[in-house]
């Protein structure tokens, strides 16, 4: 069963704007990851944040984690048309190597 819920389900923005998507989860975790998926096929790992971290940056990506609220957000700054994809958060459900994915946010960046 899927643990995470993502919000919004779909997001449409103009190129150059920032995109923010949120993820909530239910149980304790060791880490949370964000993945990107183009055209419903392979997932590409974007960034991992550990439970003892509050914020992490990678290029135009900024991830925050609030373990008290069991939530995370992914911010993509200065979006580009090539950022159009589905974005998923995934957690380790408190242990083990299997991932539990959220329902995903479909991002569309228009020129």
């Amino acid at each position: 069963s899927q643990q995470g819920e993502e919000d919004p389900q779909a997001l449409s923005i103009q190129e150059g704007e920032n995109a923010t998507m949120n993820c909530s989860y239910k149980t304790s975790i060791n880490n949370l990851q964000w993945y990107r998926q183009n055209s419903g096929r392979g997932l590409v790992h974007l960034i991992l944040i550990r439970s003892n971290e509050r914020e992490k940056h990678s290029g135009r990506l900024r991830v925050t984690l609030d373990t008290s609220k069991k939530s995370s957000s992914l911010l993509i700054t200065a979006s580009r048309a090539a950022d159009t994809a589905s974005y998923f958060c995934a957690t380790d459900e408190g242990g083990g190597n299997k991932l539990t994915f959220g329902t995903g946010t479909q991002l569309k960046v228009e020129l």
């Binding site: 069963s1 899927q2 995470g4 990851q33 993945y35 419903g40 096929r41 392979g42 997932l43 590409v44 790992h45 998923f88 995934a90 380790d92 083990g96 190597n97 299997k98 991932l99 539990t100 994915f101 959220g102 329902t103 995903g104």
Partner: protein
């Protein structure tokens, strides 16, 4: 190999038939995972191998689904008596011990007609 390879990329089969989906992980990755993704949903865990053994098969939906990894490298997901509800993209991933370097393949899109 350079990445996780899955074959075939697309498979159309008739209801009731048997199918095999193959996953070739990154060389040296001892952990291998199968996920299933239905349209509009996130991937759902099926089974996880550490070496040759299934460390966690709690996600397999029923006994029509089975997976093997006999030599600790290539894995095959086997589905017997396929049903239309089995239609989905089947994703394979591999990683180093501890889940480091988690890498997904491009998936096999299975359509049961």
């Amino acid at each position: 190999g350079a990445g996780v390879s899955q074959t075939p990329s697309n498979k159309v089969t008739e209801k009731g038939k048997y199918v095999e989906l193959r996953c070739d992980p990154i060389s040296g990755h001892t952990a291998l995972y199968w996920y299933r993704q239905s349209l509009g949903q996130g991937p759902e865990f099926l089974i996880y191998f550490q070496g040759t053994g299934a460390a966690d098969d709690s996600g397999l939906p029923n006994d029509r689904f089975f997976a093997v990894r006999p030599e600790g490298s290539v894995s095959t997901l086997k589905i017997q008596r396929t049903e239309r509800g089995d239609s989905a993209v089947y994703l394979c991933a591999s990683s180093l011990p501890g889940g480091f370097g988690y890498t997904f393949g491009s998936g096999t899109r299975l359509t049961v007609v």
